[in-house]
Symmetry: C2
Amino acid sequence: MPKLTDAERDEMLKPLFDTGWRMVDGRDAITKTFEFKNFVEAFGWMTRCAIHAEKLNHHPEWSNVYKTVEVTLSTHDADGLTENDVKLAKRMDKQAG
Amino acid sequence: MPKLTDAERDEMLKPLFDTGWRMVDGRDAITKTFEFKNFVEAFGWMTRCAIHAEKLNHHPEWSNVYKTVEVTLSTHDADGLTENDVKLAKRMDKQAG
């Protein structure tokens, strides 16, 4: 899967930036911090996202401290952002919505 | 819950160090990196640990990248290691065993 082109970035990343995703400094990756009511809500969301990630065969880098989950998405094989990252980001937003 | 005494550390932390836990530099916390066969195995383990953590009402700081999970344990309210950290560390080891 190829890295996103400039045109694709304008089209696909802008809507994600509007929901709170942002570029990682010094890396072709996007990140977002999700906050939930408590640990059960946070981990429940992670579990749903984990199933989606496995189905996409595309996995997040993520960390969890109690009710907070920090996610970073990038495509290792492409050394940068691809459509898979956009897909997973959208699903994560949807599951948190 | 009070911080572990020196005697308790000798007794309770030593067996954890033998299974791969170590002190975090500059912080009264322990950390361990768990490696699994793949993402499903890693997240399955996290799910079992999450249920134990919620039952103990004591939660890890952890991050996951594909088949690797890095865990840090410390007790926020005590500003350091307590028996709860030892309990959760043991359960995490058991679930990975």
